[in-house]
């Protein structure tokens, strides 16, 4: 292969310098076979230009993937959440493990190991730091209880491992297990709030004054508090707890009645909208499985029973029945249309769109409507408790 031959294709492609081009031009003028070869190359080149372009597909999909499939390191994405959940479950598990002799939790009162000795306690402290100052104040005793419990658990494990099967006698006053569960639930709630920040904390709660100086956070039960309950949960204690919480949240008792042949009591309270959600939350935390608390409903409303509600209407106040009739008419029209057109014909498609729109409106109308409660509006909350 000569240099001239090598340059022939490049000459055709215009990839040569001026001097090289001149050289090839002169060679072509002198050599007929080279001229023929160049002509063949030219024809080949033009034949290649006729290559059929494949139709381009998937551009939109790629664009979506670029937005959605942004890969993040595992510790910034799901991995971190999994880690958080595992940690939360671990801590909750530690707190909720039932004790064989019921005396483990009494260590809450007596444990006094420095926090730095325990990795779990360190984590607990970290969780505490991540909260807002107000939250930290509010949960001060909760966190310290959790810390003490974690420490006592570690201490207990250590003692158990040293003394084989011997279960140590732990001195101290008995501690309410249910109360600890409440602490755990509150701690978890506080962590969730801490993670979502101040806006997330108060986002679901109407603005307005709160009766406790806790900045709106749930208040754990302090020893000696009348709302404090023991594990037996007598009806009297439950009633006392409910009344105490109602007093805190300035809820007015509307009615009080006995239920279940005197084994339970039902209360209807009227409370300000701004206090309703913390009030309900506190009640639910307090009475747990020993009762139920209804969702707030406006004080004017007669009943929350769906049977007593008016027939649902759509957003533009068209009765649902009318819409259903319209849907039926459209469906009948579609059947007629299909005798003339195929399913993918334009008139059928347009009709299908109308049918879909009406179906959506009907579905929306059937959904239970959530009514927002104004902060200064009175709402009704019904509480029922059952005890021994």
């Amino acid at each position: 292969m000569t240099e001239r031959e090598l340059n022939l294709k490049a000459f055709l492609d215009g990839e040569l310098s001026e001097a090289e081009q001149l050289e090839v031009t002169e060679a072509l003028a002198a050599d007929e076979s080279a001229e023929r070869e160049l002509q063949d190359f030219r024809e080949l080149q033009s034949a290649f230009r006729s290559a059929i372009e494949p139709p381009v597909l998937g551009m939109e999909r790629t664009m979506l993937a670029l937005v959605e499939k942004k890969r993040t390191p595992w510790w910034n994405g799901v991995g971190m959440n999994v880690l958080k959940v595992a940690l939360a479950l671990g801590v909750a598990g530690l707190l909720l493990v039932p004790n064989q002799n019921g005396s483990l939790f009494s260590q809450l009162q007596t444990a006094a190991v420095p926090a730095t000795q325990s990795a779990v306690a360190t984590k607990s402290a970290t969780l505490e730091k991540s909260e807002t100052p107000a939250a930290a104040t509010a949960n001060g005793d909760v966190s310290s209880n959790a810390k003490a419990l974690a420490e006592s658990m570690l201490q207990r494990n250590s003692v158990e491992s040293k003394t084989a099967n011997k279960i140590p006698e732990i001195q101290g006053p008995p501690v309410d297990v249910n109360r600890l569960k409440m602490y755990a639930a509150e701690e978890a709630l506080a962590r969730t709030r801490g993670a979502t920040g101040a806006a997330g904390d108060m986002g679901a709660m109407p603005a307005g004054p709160l009766p406790s100086p806790m900045g709106g956070r749930l208040r754990p039960f302090a020893p000696g508090d009348p709302s404090e309950l023991d594990a037996s949960r007598t009806l009297d204690q439950l009633v006392l707890a409910v009344k105490s919480i109602a007093k805190q949240y300035r809820a007015t008792l509307v009615t009080e009645s006995a239920i279940s042949a005197g084994k339970g009591k039902s209360f209807v309270y009227s409370v300000l909208g701004s206090n309703a959600i913390p009030f309900i939350r506190q009640l639910r935390l307090s009475i747990g499985q020993f009762g139920s608390v209804s969702e707030p409903r406006p004080a004017g409303a007669q009943s929350a029973n769906p049977r007593n509600l008016a027939r649902p209407t759509t957003a533009d106040d068209i009765p649902l029945e009318d819409l259903e009739k319209e849907l039926q008419a459209l469906n009948e029209r579609r059947v007629v249309l299909l005798t003339e057109f195929y399913e993918d014909a334009k008139p059928v498609k347009e009709l299908d769109m109308q049918i879909d729109a009406i179906k959506k409106r009907i579905a929306d109308a059937k959904k239970p409507k959530e009514r927002e409660v104004a902060p200064n509006e009175k709402v009704i909350v019904q509480v029922s408790v059952m005890g021994t």
Binding site: K9, A10, F41, R49, T62
Partner: protein, 176 residues
């Protein structure tokens, strides 16, 4: 090359979705067709998507030593090779909008659709690649050199040899 991309690259930050969508709009067609000619239409969209996802991650390291188009095609080539290796794919046949010599009844027609396809398939992978990149996809010698990672002179030589072989195959076909 769009200006926002350059800004993003200079700042060594990842391109925003908006910047990436600009790049996709500008180069998707080229990348897709490049992939379609190597892995076939069934896989082309997937490989093109992977190409742009890889590009999104690597764009902040792109130094403009080559054009963005050849950089993207280089990524696409690697993705295609990887898929071909994994799935044991064969390159699809390139169709030409040419009349068949027998059908047209042309006496002097030495290049027809069937013969050209056959001659192109008969080339070695190296030669076929440069021919397709230059003649069909319109890449310059320098761009091909950047994509494949060979000197520009080698591209020139491969192209010339590929054309000699094609010409020979087609002439032999005509002679029967």
């Amino acid at each position: 090359m769009s200006e926002p991309v350059k800004t993003a690259v200079r700042a060594e930050i990842e391109p925003t979705p908006l910047e990436m969508s600009g790049i996709v709009r500008e180069h998707y067609e080229v990348v897709y067709r490049f992939c379609a000619r190597r892995v076939g239409q069934d896989w082309a969209a997937d490989v093109a998507q992977e190409t742009f996802l890889t590009a999104q991650k690597a764009l902040k390291r792109f130094r403009f030593e080559s054009s963005l188009r050849s950089w993207l095609i280089g990524i696409a080539l690697n993705e295609c090779r990887s898929l071909i290796r994994k799935r044991k794919l064969f390159p699809p046949t390139i169709e030409f909008d040419l009349p068949d010599a027998s059908a047209s009844g042309r006496e002097n027609a030495w290049i027809d659709r069937t013969a050209l396809t056959k001659a192109l398939n008969a080339l070695s992978d190296e030669h076929r690649d440069v021919v397709v990149m230059h003649e069909i996809e319109g890449l310059s010698y320098d761009e091909i050199a950047a994509v494949i990672g060979i000197p520009s002179g080698t591209v020139k030589s491969r192209l010339h040899h590929a054309f000699i072989n094609l010409r020979k195959s087609l002439r032999d076909e005509v002679r029967g």
